[in-house]
Amino acid sequence: MSIDLSQFHQTFFEESLEGLETMETGLLNLSPGEVETEAVNTLFRVAHSIKGGSAMFGFSAITSLTHVMETLLDHVRAGRAGIDRLLVDALLAAVDCLTETVLAMKDGGGHDDRHIAASEAQLQSLLPAHSRIEVFRAPVREPTDEPEGKGVAIGATWRIGFRPFPHLFKTGNDPLRLLRALAGVGKLAVSADISRLPAFGDLDPESCYLGWDLTLDSDVGRETIGEVFEWVDGDCDLVITPSSGGPIPLPESMLPVPEADHHEPVLYDPHPSGHAHGEPSRTGSERRQPVSPGAEASSIRVSIQKIDALINLVGELVITQSMLSQCGQDLSSQGADNSIGGRLRDGLAQLARNTRELQESVLGIRMVPISFSFNRFPRLVRDLGHKLRKNVELRVSGENTELDKTVMEKIGDPLVHLIRNALDHGIETPEERRAAGKPDTGVLHLNAYHSGGRILIEIADDGAGIDSRKILARARARGLIAEGDSPSEDRIHDLIFQPGFSTAAEVTDISGRGVGLDVVRRNIKDLGGVVEVRSRAGQGSTFLIKLPLTLAILDGQLIRVGEHVYVIPLVSIIESLQVRKDRVSSLAGTAELYQLRNEY
């Protein structure tokens, strides 16, 4: 039977990527010095699992790297290696390398062997010297049809003394199956040894009392016979001898074997009428219905195009439904209020309700938890913290808040930017923090929640805050604020979103090039959102992003000016009010002014 293993490759890639993500999260949560057995066990298991799969499907590059990971993690598990930053860094690098490799393979491309080798070498250097692994090879075993030629003459007769221990059945093994297997490789003569059989009253039906002396005429080697008995090694006394006749030499434990108890050798019957022990036989009618194998699947993957097609269709449906409603109203106003008109109105009202629900459900398909975006930040914060030599603790909340997939994809970059900023400019070095009377470790809090049909994302740090004086000075120097003007604190802080506005003393490779916050604000504006900042010197800054839940459908207000009808998106409407005639004043007969809250 030939099976194409490549049909399982995609599943393997998917589960490996999932596993690697689990490993990354697990590694980021490991604290140096601490030994969290369960966390290490999980890491070990995932590495082991990916290794097993890659070996099965022949991806030897992945096998060799995961093997070293597994070995290293086994040392950690056994307490022979400690968890330190070096180890976590090396393992994270290996996870990155594997992710890259799996992604490349998934797309049908090649992988970078040197990268894998480098990552492997990095891990090897952390292993205790004696347990370094030279080369790992795990070939898929192909069954061979070649006769075994190892040291045994072809056409030999084997004599086998087989005395199972009483507990043999309890391992799920059955001597009958072993005899059948032997009968399958040659001509087998069987003689039962019933000398150990107790009196009927003492007989335990779950124990094995029988022994066998077997004579096998076959051209197979000792290895094949040994393989038949491989699983019962340790559960029986076994003697295998090539023989031309004569008694089988048995070890002392099998003796004595009284001649009288030996039955006449019989040729093995492969279809015996009864079982040697009391395992109940099953008939077809007792067989259970198979459980659906897909029962554990609670979600399916659907291409985004299919969903978008559905959303477009529902959009059209909503328009059709609006048209019909309008027709219904026109009909009523024309006095067609007979029974048909009434039924039509009821039907249209129901259609309107169902359409609205359908629209909400379909849009719900596009909604994904924001954790998809948040999940990459622990790594980002960790790596940046290292680079900047700052201790930062990332706290995440509201990660299950849902928003439109498109919005989420586009908000990723602005969020990264704000987090980089918070680490670079916001949170201080441990020394500075200590001097300011704060704990060494800064806290960056990422929070998401729904409010008023919008999603709000907060990025709050407990760092130095925005230095208003510095900003004001710079704004004055650039002519953004007039000399005599003294703007409010909020207005000053808002200046950091101006193009080319950076107060960073030096340009680092993380942030401070002056291209930045203005781009963040523009990107968020493109999504129909806004970004604000609140800051207090010495206590930290909070960036607040407000976004629409979805971009797929926009509710709007219809406005008629003269003969033209316009739609204004609801998100763009700040306030709407009813005009009172007595508040309108004419200005020299050409212009009109409206008085609102005592202002014109």
Binding site: L5, F8, T42, F44, G52, F57, G172, V291
Partner: protein, 120 residues
């Protein structure tokens, strides 16, 4: 035809094992870890259990130990999936009542030969 319960946390290995066994005419139940397997084994008769060793929630060794406590599973063949580098795993399996083992990585033909050997 016999019903085989295959237990592995790896979906690709599960798929491969099921596909191979179903192709040979066996009925196959899949479980994602030891706990899942124990529940499925309790529901209906299974003629053979093939389990991975390292799994979340409940590992293969614990699964075999628990299954052997059930009256209907005292004599059912149970095989472990193990890697070549771990002879001690084979012994550990045997100690809790495993019937035998299948060494990873394996070819589908080898899987079938092993199942036939265990079912006789």
């Amino acid at each position: 035809m016999a019903t085989i319960l295959t237990v592995d946390d790896s979906a690709s290995i599960r798929q491969m094992v099921s596909f191979t066994l179903r192709g040979a005419g066996y009925e196959v139940l899949e479980a994602v870890d030891g706990e899942d397997a124990l529940n499925k084994a309790r529901v209906g008769p299974v003629n053979l259990v093939l389990t991975d060793l390292y799994m979340p929630k409940m590992d293969g060794i614990t699964l075999i130990r628990e299954l052997r406590k059930l009256p209907t599973y005292r004599f059912v063949p149970m095989l472990t999936l193990t890697t070549e580098s771990s002879p001690e795993r084979k012994a550990e399996g045997k100690a809790v009542g495993a019937t035998g083992w299948l060494v990873k990585p394996f070819h589908p033909d080898r899987l079938l030969a092993t199942i036939e050997k265990a079912l006789g």
